[in-house]
């Protein structure tokens, strides 16, 4: 698989944080490595024991800290090492997507994939696809988005007051 080099809509390379379960997807990422498959270097993998450990707040935190996309990888349905942790992930991520959409985070920026330990090629493919999709969207740049929202909400206030109000209303 060739690395894609097309740049983002607004110039900079996007960063994607990936939470991979240790049994299936993390192992598959290892396999992609030992098989010397190539994918773009935008993804940073964080290992968890089960995709069910991925607290929705981790995803929100990643976006708040500057991630342009979050990828979650778990075992295929029915194959969870912990019986059904992945089903819980499925529900949580579906709900979280709704919340994120309201916050202006596009759907493609959060992706949940089932990748078994033998699917190293799928790790490479999913990362290729996701990096491509996020590049087309451009960097997330939540602070800039917030400025826009504040301008809508507070049309009569001067620009100097807006950041303070934004910090108060959207601060974690």
């Amino acid at each position: 698989m060739e690395e894609q080099r097309i740049g983002t809509a607004n110039g900079q390379e996007p960063t994607i944080v990936a939470f991979f379960c240790t049994w299936c997807t993390y192992t598959a990422a290892d396999l992609a490595g030992t098989s010397r498959m190539k994918y773009p270097p935008n993804v940073r993998i964080i290992r968890v024991m089960c995709s069910g450990r991925v607290d929705p707040q981790f995803v929100v935190e990643a976006f708040a800290q500057g991630a342009d996309g979050v990828l979650i990888g778990g075992c295929h349905p029915g194959d969870c090492h912990y019986v059904e942790g992945n089903y819980k992930t499925l529900r949580r991520i579906a709900l979280l997507k709704r919340v994120l959409r309201e916050m202006g985070v596009e759907d493609e920026r959060l992706r949940l994939e089932w990748i078994s330990a033998s699917e190293g090629d799928k790790v490479a493919r999913v990362i290729n696809e996701m990096v491509g999709a996020v590049r087309r969207l451009g960097r997330l740049d939540l602070p800039a988005k917030r400025r826009g929202w504040d301008a809508e909400v507070l049309p009569h206030h001067g620009p100097t007051e807006a950041p303070a109000a934004a910090a108060a209303s959207t601060g974690r």
């Binding site: 990422a29 290892d30 607290d55 800290q65």
Partner: protein, 671 residues
């Protein structure tokens, strides 16, 4: 090497960057990475070294812990799945708690998958920074010890299962050997001779089968299947479904007087063991040397089961022994074992799936396993190689790689079809003096004595034609081809299309995983490769282990294998199981969840989420309570707790937030 002091008086971190020869250093600028690591807050020492996993690499960590008063260790090298244990031990040997350690994968997840050194180095910096941020929050942990039940379950009674069971039983462990067929022996019992030594398969296998039956440490359950597996390493609870054989195994003495007494005077049902080349009665013994030496009644064909109106002449023949019992029903046995060896084997590729070879269409196209039965002295023809009409073939074509090394079927090599094809060529020639043609893509004979056997067969005058056969048909174009099967092949050495008329075609099918491998995999909580073979923990260094502790693989369920390899692997699996059991206890990872009682609001969100019922609601305190012995450490409850009052050792919120922030510190700076 660069040195710095921990700026904040907090933990002093040592960072070690591995070159892994050129594996990492070829794509990551390890020197720049080390210099960068030294600038991170908390880092007291940062070094790079050619092979961190080597002895000197590990000693480096231990010396630094003493000299630089380190209290946290980060190693950036290969995957933690490979060497986390190594470096935790090194950390412990240096006098620190082994969990004051964090590993970063800059090989599998970085140098091996990227092509731009600048980008790969930047990514490595992000990953190392995340680990340093995270490791500061690590806490000393203790591994939990669980005792190990010394009994072992072996699933599958082929040569691998038999060898594993005997090895374990000889080692003094109690073994439950579960086989779903009415006899053990597997595929090997069907063979006549084994390559390359031409040992008689029965002569070397049946003594081992008998030994299994006679061994005081082995409980043999044939006609049985594992139906449920619960528990964890050292303490598995297994349910075994035992199908009724309608024979009391204790009472049957194997005299087989009941068989000719059956109301069916002629045997008329296809015999499974002879692949339908002969017939059997509803009451039968799979083959003369079957173990256990006990008959079996097939309810699908027995008149008593179909109509209830049989005269039961078999019961009469059995007489006072009274071993036949039509009222038997399926029942389930429950056993407890500490380890499990899976030896569920393979299925031969269905040659009928390749339509242009005419298997199932032309009666004289055979599969290799059928020929194994034909050449076998105890087979349906008493060892005579004859066609279905009784004629002795004068010309025989053996087609290699049927369903193997083929994009349309299995891309992988079956590993055994070259050798068994050559063996059958030799045996057919020996028995019939026929002209034998082998059609091959490559001849692969890498085993001990294999090439010599191939050369010998060549010297015997067996023809080898290099080329993939295009078609087998009965369409004659010349008088010579009348009444024959015609093999059409491109001879790639002669550079021409050839049509070779033969009397008998032997297809050499490849090996497929068992059709129910996926269900078995789920039941035992292990993984399969893309092809459907059970996945070993590491292809080089842990070839018989699985990702589930206490479950080992033996034989062809892990991939195509010949008999010597199956036996070797079965021995290895048994040895791994023995070393696990003889330790007496197993150390579990301490990644369990725990409740911060003072913060728990008692909302009970977590209770139904736990798949192991490890969380209880304590009515007296109105708080959740986690049973550490039951918790497997998935963290599902931790992610769900609305008040953040459940945490998981080694994956607590602070550690993961630190990792997220660490990994993204570069991204924030850029935006």
């Amino acid at each position: 090497m660069r040195e710095a002091l921990s700026a904040n008086g907090g933990p002093r971190v040592g960072v070690y960057i591995c070159h892994c020869g050129k594996n990492i250093a070829g794509m990551v600028d390890v020197q720049r990475l080390t210099e960068y690591a030294a600038t991170l807050l908390g880092v007291a020492v940062a070094r790079d070294y050619k092979y961190m996993c080597s002895d000197p690499g590990q000693v480096l960590i231990q010396k630094d812990i003493a000299e630089h008063k380190l209290d946290r260790i980060v190693v950036a090298a290969c995957s933690p799945l490979l060497h986390e244990r190594t470096f935790r031990s090194a950390t412990e040997a240096g006098g620190l708690n082994p969990f004051y350690f964090q590993m970063v994968s800059i090989r599998e997840h970085d140098s091996w998958v990227h092509t731009d050194m600048e980008e790969a180095t930047r990514k490595a910096q992000d990953l190392v920074r995340a680990a340093v941020h995270r490791v500061i929050y690590h806490e000393p942990l203790e591994r939990r010890r669980v005792p190990i039940n010394p009994a072992v379950l072996v699933v599958g009674g082929g040569i691998a299962g038999i060898h594993a069971a005997l090895t374990l039983a000889n080692g003094g462990k109690h073994v439950y050997l579960v086989e779903r067929e009415p006899t053990i022996g597997g595929h090997m019992a069907k063979f006549d001779k084994t390559f390359p030594t031409l040992d008689c398969a029965a002569c070397i296998l049946t003594p081992k089968m008998t030994a299994v039956r006679a061994h005081p440490n082995i409980t043999l359950w044939t006609y049985s299947e594992v139906s449920q597996v619960e528990g964890y390493v050292g303490n598995y609870k297994v349910k075994v479904k035992r199908r009724p054989r309608y024979i009391n195994e204790e009472l049957c003495i194997g005299c087989q007087e009941c068989i000719p007494a059956c109301i069916y005077k002629e045997a008329k049902h296809p015999d499974e063991f002879n692949l339908g080349l002969s017939k059997r009665r509803p009451i039968y013994i799979p083959f003369p040397q079957a173990v256990p030496q006990v008959v079996v009644i097939d309810p699908e064909t027995c008149i008593e089961f179909k109509s209830g109106k049989c005269k039961k002449t078999c019961v009469e023949a059995c007489g006072e022994r009274n071993a036949i019992d039509f009222r038997q029903t399926e029942h389930t046995e429950e056993i407890e074992v500490g380890a499990i060896v899976l030896a569920t084997g393979f299925k031969t590729f269905d040659a009928g799936r390749v339509p242009y070879y005419g298997y199932g269409v032309y009666p004289n196209v055979y599969s290799a396993l059928e020929i194994e039965r034909l050449v076998n002295a105890s087979g349906p023809t008493g060892g005579e190689v004859v066609l279905r009409d009784g004629r002795v073939p004068e010309r025989v074509g053996i087609i290699h790689c049927v369903g193997s090394r083929d994009e349309n079927y299995n891309v992988y090599c079956s590993r055994v079809c070259c050798m068994y094809s050559i063996k059958l060529a030799h045996l057919i020639k020996e028995r019939t003096e026929a002209e034998v043609y082998n059609f091959y893509i490559d001849v692969r004979t890498p085993g001990k004595g294999f090439e010599e056997f191939y050369t010998r067969t060549l010297a015997e005058g067996v023809h080898f034609v290099r080329g993939k056969v295009g078609q087998v048909s009965d369409w004659a174009t010349t008088p010579e081809e009348q009444g024959k099967l015609v093999i059409q092949v491109e001879d790639t050495l002669a550079g021409m299309i050839r049509r070779i008329p033969v009397d008998m075609v032997v297809l050499s099918p490849g090996l497929d995983p068992q059709p129910d491998a996926q269900e078995v995999r789920r039941m035992f909580n292990i993984s399969c490769s893309n092809e459907g073979w059970f996945l070993e923990r590491h292809p080089k260094l842990a070839p018989v282990n699985t990702f589930t502790d206490g479950i080992f693989l033996a034989g062809a369920c892990q991939g195509p294998k010949d008999i010597p390899d199956s036996v070797a692997q079965a021995g290895a699996a048994a040895a791994e199981a023995l070393s696990l059991i003889d330790a007496g206890y197993f150390e579990l990872e301490p990644t369990t969840a725990y409740v911060l009682a003072e913060e728990c609001s008692g909302c009970k969100t977590c209770v139904p989420l736990c798949p192991y019922t490890a969380i209880a609601f304590d009515a007296a305190t109105a708080k959740a309570l986690i049973n550490e012995a039951l918790c497997k450490g998935c963290g599902v409850c931790v992610a769900a707790c609305p008040s953040g009052s459940i945490q998981q050792h080694l994956f607590d919120d602070r550690q993961i937030y630190a990792e997220i922030q660490g990994v993204l510190a570069g991204a924030t700076a850029a935006s």
